[in-house]
Amino acid sequence: MSELTLIVGLGLCLFSIGIVGFVTRRSGLIALMSLELMLNGVNICLVAFARHHNSPEPSALVMLIVLVAAAEAALALALFVALFRQSGSVDLDDYRMLKG
């Protein structure tokens, strides 16, 4: 197997773990972590492509993603703090106000 395949495979594994974690975990914070995992999985794939094609663009995209991920994590955590103050739990199943 080529180098590319291995690293993309790694990224894919991370991404899958992230998706499954996001969809199945009860706690909101764990879901957030899974989300970060998904993003990092994608990052690894991008780095692999950058190396394989010898091109700087995917690396630039990785930088962007890291930046946005950081901001988004901060925002999401702030939201969870507010939600916790509101309802006393970070359990995703408890947030049903938009039902119907």
Binding site: T24, L98, K99
Partner: protein, 645 residues
């Protein structure tokens, strides 16, 4: 097409219509007086002015001139669209002139009568307004030069009849009677419509002069089938307006209106419209013997049925109402045997003596404080002498007592019927005998014997305003007959000449008729036989009822059938009105409410339901939405991979 007529024009004719119309507007919309003297004065003046103008017109253009028929008042143009060309023109013919005099003359007399009869009325202005409006519409009918104008008058009198029958509208029965009159007349009017359509399509004209000159006679440009349909349709319309079988049922109910109304509308003028129009159009009818046969037998049946019912009625007005229906039947029999002159003669004489009888009845009812039951009357001849005398004259006229007006007209009809065939003559004579019976019964019960109730005991003669018209009409009933006498008695044919001169030179001879005339001997025999029989029956009836003491009438099944008018109204209810009403309710409830609205509501509910179904997808849970995202993106990736490969 009307531009090339060569007659004379006048603008007098429109005033005959305008005066009563103005009277109606002034009375009804402007003055609205509760004082009968004022309201009555306006109304009577308007009517009298119409009479005066009619006199002037008749005097100016005469009665007997042959090549008249071209005196026209080209008032205004009404409708002109495509083939439909309706100028609103008025026309004078000797026939029209005579009808004018009858309508306005008797109309004015009835206005005078109403001054006394309606003296306790709360809103007399309404009464005189409607009376004038009626007069106006009737005059439009008489004077119009084309059939659409006649239809305007036709429906107009129908409207006024509706308003006047239901005049005392606080009681539901009166309004119901008015509605019955209007609706039954409308059924007849459907025929008029069809006749107008056919004429528009095939004849391209509605003008009577053109209809007669182009389409009557052997060189007619109209196919006989179409002509027959037109005439049949017009006859159907006459059945409604002139109360023949099967549309006569409104007339007895119309007695709910004030008696002057019954006298004017339902005896003298409106109900004779059908006959008037037929006589006006006679040369056309003369070309279609089948229609005339139909007319004969419908008239005969009506004459019989009505006479049979009149034999047993208790209400004086109902006797006279059925008598009117029966006499109208006589007129249609006359038309059916091909004697338009006889029919119209009877129209004129009947107008006089029936109006007289009705007004006399009104006087009686007034004196009896509005009790109309004959069996509660009695002995009125000493209490109400003038009413008694004039009523007697009317009764004698209607049974055809020698030398009264009714004698001449009835005998003319009988003579013409005999010319047609002995069966028609026999049946008609029997009907005449029934007439003698029930009229003398009515007379005797009311005026002879001892008073059978308090009201009869305290009855008193009516005031001058009511008595004078009675006297005038009585004189008319005696004298009017002299305008047309049979060959055996002075041989005067003024009416015949007048009428025959009103057909624009077309012949009134029936197609295929040999026109055999009776010998003088036969005529004498007929006259003597019928007169003797009538007088005999009359005397018998008089003897039977002039000493009536009990307030019960006779009994027996046939008697009850007759008294209940042979249940014709109930039959109509059962066969026509109730099913129609049921169909109407059903169609509305089932079709509109369940089917159509139901369908619409199903669509609405279906949309609502599908919306609710889709809302199951909105769980409010982020993770579910993430699933959707993932699944959808996986699916689209797979799809694009499959497409690309």
């Amino acid at each position: 097409m009307d531009a090339e007529f060569t007659g004379a024009t006048t603008s007098l004719l429109r005033w005959i219509i305008l005066f009563p119309l103005l009277g109606a507007i002034v009375n009804g919309l402007i003055v609205r007086s509760r004082n009968i003297k004022i309201a009555g004065a306006i109304g009577t003046l308007a009517s009298a002015l119409a009479f005066v103008v009619s006199l002037i017109v008749v005097n100016q253009y005469g009665f007997l001139s042959e090549d008249l028929g071209y005196i026209v008042d080209p008032w205004f143009h009404w409708i002109q669209v495509g083939r439909i060309n309706v100028p609103f023109w008025l026309e004078y013919t000797p026939l029209t002139g005579l009808m004018l005099l009858v309508v306005t003359g008797i109309g004015t007399l009835i206005h005078v009568f109403s001054l006394g009869y309606m003296s306790e009325e709360k809103s007399p202005y309404r009464f005189f307004c409607y009376l004038n409006l009626f007069l106006s519409a009737m005059l439009v009918l008489v004077l119009s030069s084309n059939l659409v104008g006649i239809f305007l008058g036709w429906e107009g009198v129908g409207l006024c009849s509706y308003l006047l029958i239901g005049f005392w509208y606080e009681k539901n029965e009166n309004t119901a009677a008015g509605m019955k009159a209007f609706v039954t007349n409308r059924v007849g009017d459907l025929g008029f419509f069809i006749a107008l359509f056919l004429l528009a399509l095939h004849a391209n004209t509605f003008q009577i002069r053109e209809l007669l000159t182009y389409f009557a006679g052997p060189s007619s440009q109209l196919s006989p089938v179409i002509l027959m349909c037109v005439l049949a349709a017009l006859f159907w319309a006459s059945t409604g307006k002139s109360a023949q079988l099967p549309l006569y049922v409104w007339l007895p109910d119309a007695m709910a209106g004030p008696t002057p109304v019954s006298a004017l509308i339902h005896a003298a003028t409106m109900v004779t419209s059908g006959i008037f129009v037929t006589v006006r159009l006679w040369p056309l009818f003369a070309t279609q013997p089948e229609i005339l046969d139909w007319m004969l037998w419908v008239g005969m049946a009506t004459a019989w049925l009505a006479a049979l019912i009149a034999l047993t009625q208790r209400d004086i007005k109902k006797v006279l109402a059925y008598s009117t229906v029966s006499q109208l039947g006589f007129m249609f029999v006359a038309l059916g045997v091909g004697a338009p002159v006889a029919a119209f003669f009877h129209v004129v004489t009947h107008a006089f003596f029936k109006a007289l009888l009705f007004l006399g009845a009104g006087s009686v009812i007034h004196g009896m404080h509005h009790d109309q039951d004959l069996f509660n009357m009695g002995g009125l001849k000493s209490k109400m002498p003038q009413t008694h005398l004039t009523f007697l004259v009317g009764t004698l006229a209607i049974i055809g007592f020698p030398f009264t007006a009714g004698f001449f007209s009835k005998d003319m009809i009988l003579a013409k019927a005999f010319e047609h065939g002995p069966l028609a003559w026999t049946l008609l004579v029997l009907a005449a005998l029934m007439t003698a019976f029930y009229m003398l019964r009515c007379y005797a019960l009311a005026f002879w014997g001892k008073p059978r109730s308090k009201h009869a005991e305290h009855a008193h003669e009516s005031g001058l305003s009511m008595v004078i018209p009675l006297i005038v009409l009585a004189l008319g009933s005696l004298l009017v007959g002299w305008m047309e006498t049979p060959p055996i008695l002075f041989d005067i044919h003024a009416l015949q000449q007048a009428i025959e001169g009103s057909w624009y030179g077309m012949s009134g001879e029936i197609v295929g008729h040999s026109g055999h005339h009776l010998s003088h001997a036969t005529e004498w025999i007929l006259v003597l036989v019928t007169t003797a029989a009538s007088l005999g029956v009359a005397y018998f009836s008089f003897k039977k009822f002039s000493n009536q003491t009990s307030r019960d009438s006779a009994s027996g099944t046939v008697f009850e059938w007759s008294q209940n008018k042979f249940y014709v109204d109930e039959l109509y209810q059962f066969l026509i009105l109730r099913p129609l009403s049921f169909v109407a309710s059903w169609s509305w409830k089932i079709v509109d409410t369940y089917l159509i609205n139901g369908f619409v509501h199903v669509i609405r509910d279906g949309l609502k339901f599908s919306g609710q179904l889709l809302s199951f997808a909105h769980t409010g849970n982020v993770q579910t939405y993430a699933w959707y995202l993932a699944a959808a993106s996986a699916a689209s990736l797979l799809l694009s991979w499959w497409v690309i490969s």
